[in-house]
Amino acid sequence: MQRIQVSLKVNGKKYRLETPPNRTLLEVLREDLGLTGAKDGCSSGECGACTVLLDGRAVNSCLVLIGSADGHSIETVEGLQKAGMPHPLQKAFVEKGAVQCGFCTPGMLMAAKALLDQNPKPDEEQIRTALAGNLCRCTGYTKIIDAVQEAAKELRYE
């Protein structure tokens, strides 16, 4: 299969890579760049475990063919912390008990970040709607929603 050249900016770092065109952004992130934070839970855009930000929008990276990410800016869970300091969302997830098995957590965090970047003061309903594409089987969502509200507060104070 003919390979294609792709340029990506991932967590602020530029990458140029050559890859067969039939791969997904998720595969490239995990296999080529070693960024295994985003998870593969269903390979079909149903569970949200692979959620990353593409130019600031939350996308299911399992559905993004690598060619369509060419030239775009990607943010993954590994890019959330700044200078060794966890992002307020990461802190709130820890403090509020929003993490159990942790497998959905990276996707949840990125979906929540996309929301807070756009809407710094979401109400509960808006948070529930923003996370509706991210399945969690452990937590019942209660504490995840608490954590997003908490992080929103902290981000407003920052």
Binding site: R30, K39, S44, E78, C101, G102, R137, C138, Y141
Partner: protein, 777 residues
Amino acid sequence: MSTYQFVGKSIERVDALEKVLGTAKYVGDYYLPGMLYARALRSEVPHARIVELDVSPALQVPGVKAVITCDDFVDHGNFGFPVKDQYVLAYQKVRYVGEAIAAVAAETEEAALEGIKAIHLVLEPLPGLFDIDHALDPNAPQVGPDRADGKHPNFLDMSPVYKGNVDEVLKQCDVVLDLKYTTPHQEHAYIETEGALAIPTPEGGVVVYVSCQSPFIDKGILQMVLGLDPARVRTIIPPVGGSFGGKDDLNYYTSAQVAALALKTGKPVRMTFSREESMIASYKRDAAHMHIQLGASHDGVLRACRAKHTFDSGAYASQTPFTAWRGSIHAMGAYRYDACEVEITSVYSNNGFSGAFRGFGNTEACFAIEQAIDEMADALGMDPIDFRLKNCLRLGDETPHGQILTQSVGLTECLQIVRKASDWDRKRTEYSRQAAGDIRRGIGVAALFHGTSLGAEGIDSATSTIEIENDHTIVLTSGLTDYGPGSRTVYTIIAAEELGVNMKRIIMLRPDTNTAIDSGPTVASRSTMVGGNAVRNAARNLAQTINLAASDLLKCSVDQLYRVGEDFVGPSEEVVRWDAVVDHARDMGLVLSTYGKWVAPKIDWDHHGGRGTPYFAYHFAAHVAEVEVDVRIGKTQVLNYWAAHDSGTVIFPEGAYGQVYGGVAQGIGYALLEEALYADGYLQSVNFDTYLIPTSMDVPEIKATFVQTYFSEGPYGAKNIAEPAMVPAAPAVLNAIAHAIGRRIRDLPADLEKVVLGEALRKKGSPVSCKIGLKTK
């Protein structure tokens, strides 16, 4: 209780940070140099004889390095407990769609898939058994193994509970109800699919990283089917992305497959499942057909219960004999009766296979009995909570099994708490009088008792090790796995409490069969009580040594010592640091490594007579659900939810609340959405587009309360929480729906069709999604 420094306090999970940073490495996150990718060839038919199987063409596929069948294992890879009826790869027959027949290791996932496709396989289809009501017919297709005792080969087990003469008592009852309920198979739907990675060692052994619950069972099976010396097999459990009972058997198959491939190729081999493969191949919660007869007198006294249930074990026994047993113990609910007769029969079929799932038989049994209790309250014209309060088990009562409850029975308090918190009396009255309309509200209750730990299933003990390293770090192990609920945090809290040190000093290792000690399976919500007691004993043993060193250093007796934070203070107010005491202990030649074991109190159960003491303690709970039903489209929204649990002392509150919230969410899914439907043996939903689980839009805010009745055998008085959190949710929701619409739905799930039409609207099933699912990447 407030004298504790860590127990019951607000504590962060020990593994939360690595999980939010994205650095926690699950099995599928390992990409080792030279690692091969494995994939299994799986049956596309529900029941067949293997006529021809030639795997050699797979080896001609570029990139394929090895291929294995059952012939690559000792005794064809036969394993299973309590019935040894499973094979690591199919032997002679396949009994369900998705059963692994051969496995390939290749340089890429694509090559592994091509290898699978190249295998020459001829299956001769056999008649399938799909209707469990006919599993024991004389001419039913044989699914179960041949048996010498003359019983039907499809008969697996029958678990009874007997008290008095039910027929006699029913004759005396004023009201007798005869009710049938069904529950479907349920998919665990952990977000991480199954996976295992095997790394060959230079000595000819293998190290296996596997996303499973019970490391020592995995190791035991590997030794047995690979014919390896115990020292040559090591099982390590990395972070596990959810399990709920679902990551045992199938991961044993998988770890044995990758281990054999790793030994054959001399390279690391990893297999991780696609979602479709996971759903098709994995075991499910047993489907159940349940029949209840309930008798009561006009004054609201429950008198007799007969429960005759059939559980669908599917192709293999797996845990179903134990599931059905737990179901039988709880089938009459947490009530007093004059007479009781429970018989749960489990049978083989070709409907996938069933195994452990949160609640383990009680989830199914509780669904039936807690609706039946509600129906009886209706028939008697009594309030459902009043009726339960009048008949429920209290301290000092004798259970229908013949066990006197001597301590930690908090069901009455649980019922009273949810009644008050939910404003039950007002809402029950108001919704009972609501005018006819399309949008209707209802409120429903369910009660629960749930035996703690293994009970009569087996020997119940755990062991932990604890050691102080040269850098003063305290390293703690357990043979039990934390696959999400938070037991590693519970153990860290307990060790810190006993040693009087900051939790940050303690490194709680994940299970590794080379460092931890066999503590039985991580099941039955036994981690806090059984595993926690083991940690407590280990830490207490170590504390004795440290205290001895401190007394030597401070030149006083041990009982003259006291603690200020981590520091030790002697009678003359002289303060020494923890580190100095540890160093002194080392100088004294004391051993700073110890272990602690805890063995559960003996239980006594007559499996044929159906009498005895099945569990040494019970968890009690009451749930209330408030729903709104749109009767035009059948949609039920759970508006509010209250849960009160008598879990004994809560050691790790954040974890305990998390268990309740997650358990209720899973129960709401079971109540309203989830059905892993097998049509002629083919699973109809193979990914999350058709197998729907609750999203953030479906789960309301849940108000949880803990009734902390002290349990003398538990660490600090703790019992358990994980499974009981889910069990009463479905009947609470269904009772609320019945209150809202004035009609009972006795078959789960209460989806749109059942609410509108009263029955499932079902197209004929199709094998297509299974067949496509097994071929996808």
